[in-house]
């Protein structure tokens, strides 16, 4: 078995945590969406109008949850140094960690997103698009979240600092995904936002590993 597959299996099992990781993330996602629904007041028609967008925003926030464990656990117990010395480059290691993060967190969120949106009042016809947007945007969230996690290694305040670093970078995919969802709900063409979201996710996946590797090297030095 190649080193890449081995590492991916390790990262996936750590992130999945025997189901606990995915369950926690989806649970928080549902709870956050519920908060929005409760705070929006008693009118179900008003909530139905923003259901897709609120779901998408709650998903973006939920994907920030398990970020600080991505690199910090390995950094604290010395595994990151071993990975840095190993056959895989730190760029490859970072990319694999982000893909495992997406598989363990982003994919369950993408499966749960249409259900949450329909619970808030979205039409069932929008379910496939919401799932597709969540899956595609989840790639950007995983890679950019990993960048924040790597940059915040050695810092005194992990979680909130990572969120502060990552959220400005997430505004673009949130806007693109949200415009695709809102355009579909309004009967307008939705492909532009979706394509821009895809382009942003691919760019993030291509470029973020270099930033993550640089940050890891600086933290390990």
């Amino acid at each position: 078995m190649s080193a890449l597959t081995l590492l991916f299996r390790r990262e996936l099992s750590l992130a999945w945590g025997r189901g606990g990781g995915a369950l926690l993330t989806v649970g928080f996602f549902a709870a956050a969406a519920m908060m929005f629904a409760l705070a929006a007041g008693p009118s179900p028609e008003r909530l139905a109008v923003v259901a897709g967008g609120v779901t998408w925003a709650a998903l973006a926030l939920a994907s920030l949850l398990s970020l600080d464990r991505m690199f910090e656990r390995d950094f604290d117990n010395g595994a990151l140094e071993l990975l840095a010395l190993g056959p895989l480059s730190l760029e490859a290691v970072s990319a694999v960690k982000c893909m495992a993060q997406w598989a363990a967190g982003g994919a369950p969120l993408a499966l749960g997103a249409p259900l949450v949106a329909m619970a808030l009042g979205a039409r069932p016809q929008s379910a496939p698009l919401i799932a597709a947007v969540a899956a595609l945007g989840g790639i950007a969230f995983a890679f950019l979240g990993g960048t924040g996690a790597a940059l915040a290694l050695n810092s005194r305040r992990g979680g909130v600092l990572i969120a502060l670093i990552v959220l400005p970078l997430l505004t673009a995919p949130v806007v693109f995904g949200g415009s695709a969802i809102a355009a579909f709900a309004g009967g307008l063409p939705w492909t532009t936002g979706f394509i821009l979201l895809g382009a942003y996710s691919l760019a993030a996946a291509a470029l973020a590993p270099f930033a993550m590797a640089g940050a890891c090297r600086s933290a390990l030095s």
Binding site: N154, S155, I165, L167, P168, L169, T171, A211, S218, S221
Partner: protein
């Protein structure tokens, strides 16, 4: 010229004179710009509120200039491990945040009489300038939260370089998305479309703000250099 100033001793000698000169220049240019700005006639559509442009637009220009300076300094610091470049980057961040905040607040004050709204979430330029502000704040937070100064510097440099992509987005946002903010009137193909009676005070204010940023940046960089020297002297004294 940047290479000549890379030597810290030469930089300190240069900035000792340059900072006060730029400060005086800033006051002179901004004063002239404000004078001409208030002497200009009121706009036929906006009336007297057009004069907010002389405070808002230069602040927005300098906020982008500040981030560009932060990015270039971070690049030199990361690639060449240059301590003075790192000090300059650290010094530029709060200034950039202040100018961005000024641009956001004055823009909001101008938007209320002009568009009827304090803020519009659907406008790409407003959102991307807000993202610029958050990038400055994130940079300062990341730097402050890591105890080891060298590691804090490396991490913050990477973040600064990542955020550079936001600058062309801000510039071209009014071309790519046609929402609410005024389109490009000055740096565009075909030359400026602003009338000279407004363009001249605006450019004077822009130069004045840039000189003010330069003076403050040089002063802050000098202060950072002195702070680092003081820290190393204190360490030597403690170890002796």
């Amino acid at each position: 010229m940047i290479a000549a100033l890379a030597n810290p001793l030469r930089f300190m000698a240069f900035s000792r004179l340059a900072a006060p000169i730029l400060a005086v220049l800033a006051v002179g240019l901004a004063g002239a710009g404000l004078w001409l700005g208030f002497a200009a006639p009121p706009d036929y559509q906006q009336g007297e509120t057009v004069r907010i442009m002389f405070v808002h637009v230069p602040a927005a220009w300098v906020s982008m200039l500040a981030y560009a300076c932060l990015g270039v300094a971070s690049f030199f610091s990361l690639v060449f491990r240059h301590a003075l470049a790192d000090a300059a980057a650290k010094a530029a961040a709060p200034l950039g945040a202040a100018f961005t905040l000024l641009a956001l607040i004055t823009g909001s004050l101008w938007g209320r009489p002009m568009w009827g709204a304090w803020w519009v979430w659907g406008d790409a330029r407003l959102v991307s300038v807000l993202v610029l502000f958050l990038l400055f704040v994130g940079y300062m937070a990341l730097r402050a939260s890591i105890d080891d100064e060298g590691k804090a510097a490396r991490a913050a440099e990477i973040l600064a370089l990542i955020g550079l992509i936001n600058l062309p987005i801000i510039k071209f946002s009014v071309d790519w998305w046609n929402t609410l903010h005024q389109g490009e009137s000055i740096l565009r193909a075909g030359g400026p479309t602003l009338a000279n009676v407004y363009l001249v005070p605006l450019l004077l204010m822009g130069a004045g703000y840039a000189a003010a940023f330069g003076a403050l940046w040089l002063a802050r960089t000098r202060a950072e250099v002195w702070r680092r020297r003081a820290v190393s002297l204190a360490l030597q004294a403690a170890l002796a």
